[in-house]
């Protein structure tokens, strides 16, 4: 009798195991550790699973420093994620390594993507295929310390709108000690932070040039416009003395500590700046040039489907990708992470555009450029070294600019080989 019971329960156990195994498809999602991003993704997964009880999504996270290496190693070993988060700048690498697959046009029609998303999503397009879709996008804006503005006799509700006004405001808000050392900067100079984007995609264009041509494979900033842009930037330290590279180590640290009146940074900094207690700050669009030309740099992490996903997992992965790129997901992401929705309709609601913080970033998205980096770290280094040669080495800006263009072209050529 007891034996029969045992047998029955074991059989039942097997049956349920088999049934659930056949029913629920489990797919894996990978992203790097960043508290709010993980939290937001957990919410999205819960909602997705509620709507799709036959699909289970497992989220795996690890530190950003190892992220790219681990993803590459895992996928090439036939393991790892079905849906993976990647920086748009890594797309070429991931495609070359046969790690991600193009999105099926039936599931994600290109025309729909181009109609609904901000134009910067084209950085995920190769030929006619899209290789991933972002949930959220980031852009740059000018953060300013309202208290510092008031103390310097500036109107805290009227931040600089042009480059000339920026320099004037920076000059008024800079504080120096008896020997002329800066004790509080007017504008942070941090090429390692976001300034290299500001220089490359904004200043170069505002002085009449273009940083690259041919899908960002040819460096074209070594001209009159590039020289003007570089001189404008280095003069902030050399001539106007309103900031100093390395002051307080990082621009964002100086701003947080109330020791810099202005800093250029991205949406991703909002979470950190929201915890500032000592003073009130505001955000405004990046300053225009004399002719009113504006530009911005936008970037994003996209989600893509890997080569590992096949059959029913592929179908589940497509459903999941569609959900995390939906307006609903974007709304949740914006509330939890603070990043801007990648769909125009979800982003450009009257409420968002009028928002004192999100508004300036959203306006920036309309005219933003996205650099198609081949080796982001190395290209950033080339820009940093260019400025350092002028500021530390005392080199002529023209020579330094030429060297930077040559170095960066070599980096791009090598990566494209």
């Amino acid at each position: 009798m007891r034996f029969h019971h045992l047998f029955a329960s074991v059989a039942l156990g097997f049956a349920t195991l088999a049934a659930s195994g056949a029913k629920a498809v489990e797919i894996e999602y990978w992203q790097y550790v960043f508290d709010t991003r993980v939290k937001a993704m957990n919410q999205l997964i819960a909602k997705f699973q509620e709507a799709n009880p036959d699909i289970k999504v497992k989220q795996t996270t690890f530190p950003y420093a190892d992220y790219q290496t681990k993803v590459a190693a895992a996928i090439l070993a036939g393991q790892g994620p079905d849906v993976v988060q990647l920086f748009y700048g890594w797309t070429d690498n991931f495609i070359a390594g046969k790690m991600i697959r193009p999105l099926r046009a039936e599931a994600f029609p290109a025309a729909d993507i181009e109609r609904d998303f901000f134009p910067i999503v084209s950085a995920m397009k190769r030929g006619n295929d899209y290789y991933g879709l972002p949930t959220a996008v980031r852009s740059l804006a000018l953060f300013y310390n309202k208290k510092a503005f008031k103390d310097a006799g500036l109107d805290p509700d009227n931040p600089p709108k042009t480059l000339d006004e920026l320099v004037a405001a920076a000059e008024k808000t800079t504080k120096r000690d008896g020997s002329g050392n800066i004790v509080s900067a007017g504008l942070t100079l941090d090429m390692a932070g976001q300034d290299h984007h500001w220089w490359r995609e904004v200043l170069v264009r505002q002085f009449g040039g273009a940083p690259y041509t041919d899908n960002d494979t040819k460096v074209t900033y070594n001209d009159e416009a590039g020289l003007k842009a570089l001189t404008f930037y280095t003069d902030l330290q050399k001539k106007h003395k309103v900031g100093q590279v390395g002051f307080m180590d990082e621009g964002q640290a100086a701003f947080r500590a109330g020791l810099a009146a202005m800093t250029i940074d991205g949406t991703f900094r909002l979470g950190s700046f929201n915890t500032i207690k000592g003073f009130e700050w505001g955000v405004t669009e990046l300053p225009a040039n004399d002719q009113g030309v504006r530009s911005n740099y936008a970037s994003y992490f996209a989600n893509a489907i890997t080569m590992k996903a096949e059959g029913e997992k592929l179908a589940a992965a497509e459903k999941f990708l569609a959900y995390v790129s939906s307006p609903e997901a974007m709304k949740i992401w914006m509330e939890v992470v603070g990043e801007l929705p990648a769909r125009r309709t979800a982003a450009l609601t009257p409420e968002n555009v009028a928002h004192p913080v999100y508004g300036p970033f959203l306006k920036g998205l309309e005219y933003a450029h996205t650099t198609l980096f081949k080796d982001e770290a190395a290209q950033r280094q080339a820009a940093m070294d260019m400025v350092n040669r002028v500021l530390i080495g005392g080199e002529d800006p023209k020579a330094s600019l030429a060297k930077a263009a040559e170095d960066e072209q070599a980096i791009i050529d090598r990566a494209m080989r």
Binding site: A72, A96, G193, A377, I392, G393
Partner: protein
Amino acid sequence: MSVVADREAAPGGLWSRMSLGQKHVIWAWGFLAVPLIFYAVIRFWPTFQAFYLSATDWSITRPASFVGLENYRRLVADPLFWQVFRNTFMYLILGTPISLLISFVVAYYLDRVRFMHSFIRALYFLPFLTTAAAMAWVWRWFYQPVPIGVINDILSSFGIPQQPFLRSTSQALPAVLAPAVWAGLGFQIIIFLAGLRAIPVTYYEAARIDGLSEGAILRRITLPLLKPTLVFLVVFSSIGFLRIFDQVYNINTNDPGGPLNSTKPLVLMIYQTAFSSYEMGYAAAQTVVLFLILLVISLVQLRLMRDR
């Protein structure tokens, strides 16, 4: 029963014919094999593979193809490599003598201190226990310009103009080296102290009876008898400075090895080539070069300082 007995007898045939000595040898090798195989698989195999990789253009995402000595040719033509090469030797040439001199002087006098001897020794050893990353972050703030940086605050309070330290191509390397030397002192002092204690007291007593001066005792007795300790520390600290990484990487995380590569050591270049640009083949070629440098330097030092 008989079945069991048969089974034991069968393999026992060869085993029982062996002498006790042979059995000992087999057992010994059996146990030794475990760490040996482990070491071979974890250490030597990847080392050999690095030699092979250095002749390919593997980049993680793309399959490797054989390129011969191309990576080495590129390395020799790369001005960055030669700068990094110079930096690496600057760390060695400045770091080893300075740290050994300081630690010897400290150990020499600490050896004579009786009052709170262990406490002072512990204080010197403390930095050695500190994480290099944490230390580098603290020193980074020491080197800041005036409102924040302690060192510049002190300088300007004496009316000395503030120094750029990490923001200068000439001062950055010594500035990075200082915490590295400071962190290693504790270990070297302990080793020197042990070496000093190992010298028999009777030699000193005899020398003093013969009326030798303290300087002569140091030159004639202490230093020659300290030679084994010195050889060990020179080799050990040279290898340490030749593969310096964490102090450099952490003191300037936004521009590791900067400004303008003035503090970049070879190991950092390898790291960036491999894990930032993903040029594994090129990075492997750099590691082979580092391996050869370490090998040559260690052999030369051992030879120079060998007892004749």
